[in-house]
């Protein structure tokens, strides 16, 4: 049972993390190669708070708030850059995060933070908490998609100059996407810290940013169920295949490359085309 619970917790956290990036990259069309930094902010915040005695369920709130605040700042800085330049700018955020945390004694420096306490009701309690957070985020994503906010995001992702001519306040919409997406990553990070119970700067580096981007791209940029599926499968791959764990960057990089070349709209796009062919 313990093994299954651990696997499900891993999947749930990965799904939350990937869906949070999907708001920024999928809904709003802003590629981010630095999403792990916000995951890290959430992880460190929650870990320090629970070590000081706060229950995790409460510690997740400041984790989300700090990650979201950092997302707001990065979003502001990213308003003027587009496409490739945005990818490079956000990639810098990952290196900045790792670089800063390494030098902070209070954050455990190079050694990281160990002895992160277990959650109330142990492993099943953590799984329950992770599932609640993930389900809430899925509901939020579905709501965004169906609402006028989602409609506006579609136009921004499609062509932001045209969106403006149609009266959409593009910078404000982008900032909201960054805040919602990075706050979600903060929660995922807080959960992750209590799942592994040890964190260090390299847990939140470039490799993790690429991994989560691979989940979004393979699932189908913008598709909620596609990203859920891809994140669920790709997150357990390293548990089952030692090879994937050893060559993470290579495997996820190759997955991004192959998807972009062969099926840019990912699993969701493949399924849509298949369904169209079958009903014809």
């Amino acid at each position: 049972m313990a093994y299954e619970i651990a696997v499900l917790t891993t999947m749930s956290i990965a799904i939350l993390f990937a869906l949070s990036l999907n708001v920024i990259t999928g809904f709003c069309g802003q590629v981010s190669l630095g999403h792990a930094a916000f995951y890290g902010i959430g992880a460190y915040t929650a870990a320090l708070l629970t070590k000081a005695g706060t229950p995790l369920a409460l510690a997740l709130l400041p984790a989300a708030a700090l990650a979201g605040a950092a997302g707001f700042v990065v979003g502001m800085a990213s308003l003027r850059v587009r496409h490739d330049f945005l990818a490079i700018t956000t990639m810098g955020v990952t290196f900045l995060f790792v670089g800063i945390v390494r030098k902070q004694e209070a954050l455990g420096g190079e050694v990281g933070i160990s002895g992160i306490p277990s959650v109330a009701f142990g492993r099943p309690g953590l799984l329950a908490l992770a599932l609640v957070c993930t389900i809430l985020f899925v509901l939020l994503a579905v709501r965004i998609r169906r609402s006028w906010m989602g409609f506006a995001y579609e136009s921004v992702a499609d062509d932001e100059d045209t969106a403006r001519v149609l009266g959409i306040d593009v910078p404000r919409y982008k900032l909201w996407a960054f805040v919602i997406g990075t706050a979600g990553a903060g929660v995922a990070g807080g959960l992750y810290a209590h799942h592994i119970r040890f964190i260090w700067p390299d847990s939140f580096g470039f490799v993790e940013s690429v991994t989560v981007l691979a989940m979004v791209i393979v699932g189908g940029i913008g598709s909620i169920w596609g990203v859920v599926l891809a994140a669920g499968v790709l997150s357990v791959l390293p548990l089952w295949l030692q090879f994937v764990d050893d060559y993470k960057l290579l495997v996820y990089g190759a997955l991004i490359f192959l998807t972009m070349r062969l099926a840019p709209d990912g699993i969701a796009g493949l399924a849509r085309r298949l369904a169209a062919r079958l009903t014809r």
Binding site: R143, I144, R146, S147, W148, M149, F151, A152, E154, S155, A157, D158, D159, D161, T162, A163, R164, V165, L166, G167, I168, D169, V170, P171, R172, Y173, W176
Partner: protein
């Protein structure tokens, strides 16, 4: 009442002065034809009015507010709309949704309010009516990528109308249409004027412009040449010089 006032606007691109100290104003419920040869700076002046470009010098006043530093989207929500010369459809959406998102401009004004609002039926209904109105209702469910330029030009007009503007800016809406279609479209444009709506029409099709516009403004080489009732303008030496070249003057 004055709806729009452009004061001494200048725009430079590197060494080119595309708009040179131009002033222009328009009252409510008016219809002004804006003509001039290629490269006269018509589109550039239009972009200054919408805010896509900031003028190097000069001011833009719209509905009594100085909007020179406002971003495009704020001017649009304040009552401007633009049908662009180079069509820019949202490629991922059907024509209906291209227009529906414009029809919902008050619903997307604030992201949080937009998150609380769902249901696109009313706006899609309005969008279908507008697509019918401009004569492309048959393509309501098609994607822009599947359609010829004549359709996309009219999509631009339908989208601009969906914003319910006080001032409608049209940049060559007849381009890409055949003679019969252009005539229908011109009549349709003329019918939009009034009830609190003014139209500024850039157009190379002088025949249609002369037929429908009561008033004309001519620009050449970035400078305003002449403005007045259509017949007077077309008889003026400035008009002939702009269109027939220096030797005719």
């Amino acid at each position: 009442m004055t709806l729009l006032r452009v004061e001494n606007a200048s725009v430079r691109f590197g060494g080119v002065v595309a708009v040179d100290d131009v002033s222009l104003d328009m009252d409510e419920d008016r219809f002004l034809g804006f003509i001039g040869p290629n490269g006269a700076g018509k589109t550039t002046l239009m972009r200054v009015i919408t805010g896509v470009l900031r003028p190097w010098r000069g001011r833009v006043i719209f509905r009594g507010e100085e909007v020179t530093r406002w971003p495009v989207d704020r001017r649009i929500r304040f009552g401007l709309a633009l049908a662009q010369q180079i069509v820019r459809p949202l490629a991922s959406m059907s024509l209906t949704d291209n227009v529906a998102i414009a029809a919902g401009v008050h619903r997307t004004a604030s992201p949080l309010a937009a998150l609380l609002g769902s249901g696109r039926g009313a706006e899609r209904g309005k969008a279908k009516e507008l697509l019918e109105f401009v004569g492309i209702g048959d393509a309501a469910d098609a994607r822009p990528g599947e359609l010829p330029l004549g359709y996309l030009k009219r999509l631009e007009v339908a989208r601009a109308l969906a914003l319910e503007p006080k001032l409608l800016l049209l940049d060559e809406p007849l381009a890409g249409l055949n003679q019969a279609e252009a005539r229908v479209m011109a009549d349709l444009i003329a019918s939009l004027v009034g009830n609190g709506r003014s139209v500024l029409l850039i157009e190379h099709n002088i025949r249609e412009v002369a037929r429908i516009c009561p008033e004309l403004y001519v620009q050449d080489n970035g400078r305003g040449l002449v403005r007045g009732p259509a017949a007077e303008v077309m008889a003026s030496p400035e008009f002939r010089r702009a269109y027939l070249g220096e030797q005719a003057a």
